[in-house]
C-alpha cells in the first residue's frame, strides 16, 4: 500500500512553532508517512548553519514574555530540540526538506551548503504546489 503523504509548508522560524512541527513530524514518522517539508521565508532563517537549534537565536511566535519558562519546561520534560525531532523523523521515515530559493536568499543562503544538513535541496514554489496537490494531509505552520 502506498504510504500517506504529509506536505508541510514551514513558514515559521520561531522555536515554539518549530518544536510543534517536530512533534507532528514524530507522529507522521510513527505512521510511516512520506513527508515533504517546504521551508518558506522565516523558516529558512532557522535552517541557517549559524542558527539551527540554538534557541538563543530563535524568537518565540507567541508569549514572548514567557520564553525562559517555556524553554526551561521543554528541558525539564526532556523534549528534543526541533532539529533533533526533524533528524529523528528523517531516520524513521521518508522526509525530504526543501528550502525555498527566495527564502534562502532573503537570509543570505544561495546554496544547499549554506544550510544545516537536514535540508535536501533548494526548490521553487512549483515544487511545493505540486507536492501539496498530491498530499493526503497539508499543513501550514
Amino acid at each position: 500500500m502506498e504510504p500517506k503523504k504529509l506536505c508541510l509548508a514551514l513558514y515559521t522560524g520561531s522555536v515554539d512553532k518549530l518544536t510543534a512541527a517536530g512533534v507532528i513530524l514524530g507522529g507522521a514518522a510513527a505512521d510511516d508517512m512520506k513527508v515533504d517539508i517546504y521551508v518558506l521565508l522565516q523558516g529558512a532563517r532557522a535552517f541557517r548553519k549559524d542558527i539551527g537549534d540554538n534557541s538563543d537565536k530563535l524568537p518565540m511566535a507567541e508569549n514572548a514574555d514567557l520564553r525562559e519558562g517555556f524553554l526551561q519546561s521543554l528541558k525539564n520534560l526532556k523534549v528534543k530540540t526541533w532539529v533533533e525531532f526533524f533528524k529523528e523523523a528523517k531516520a524513521i521515515t521518508d522526509v525530504k526538506i526543501h528550502i525555498c530559493g527566495l527564502a534562502g536568499k532573503v537570509w543570505g543562503g544561495e546554496k544547499l551548503d549554506d544550510f544545516i544538513d537536514l535540508a535536501d535541496d533548494i526548490c521553487g514554489i512549483s515544487a511545493y504546489i505540486t507536492s501539496a496537490q498530491e498530499a493526503d494531509v497539508n499543513l501550514f505552520i
Binding site: V23, G26, G27, A29, A30, K78, V79, K80, I92
Partner: protein, 83 residues
C-alpha cells in the same frame, strides 16, 4: 483483556519510555517493533497520558493488535501484539 490476563502475557519486548514526553513513547514503540516477530507481545511503559490514546490508534492504523492498558502508580503499562 483483563488486568490479570495482561499481567500473565509473555512479553517479547519491553519499552520503557517513562523518561520521554509525547511523541517519545510512540516513537520508541515504533523503533522497537522492528526487533520482534509477528505475534510477539510488546509492553510499553509511559508516564505520558497521551500515550494511552496514541498507541491504540497507532495499532489500528498499522494493523497491530492493541491488547489493553494497566494504570500503575504514575505510569501506564500498554500491551500490543505485532501483526
Amino acid at each position: 483483556m483483563t488486568t490479570e490476563e495482561l499481567n500473565k502475557l509473555h512479553i517479547a519486548k519491553l519499552v520503557d519510555a517513562r523518561g520521554t514526553a509525547c511523541p517519545g513513547p510512540l516513537l520508541e514503540a515504533k523503533k522497537a517493533i522492528g526487533s520482534i516477530k509477528p505475534g510477539d507481545i510488546m509492553e510499553i511503559l509511559s508516564a505520558d497520558e497521551g500515550t494511552k490514546v496514541d498507541v491504540p490508534k497507532w495499532c489500528t492504523k498499522q494493523g497491530h493488535e492493541y491488547l489493553g492498558t494497566i494504570d500503575e502508580n504514575g505510569y501506564f503499562k500498554i500491551y500490543m501484539k505485532k501483526k
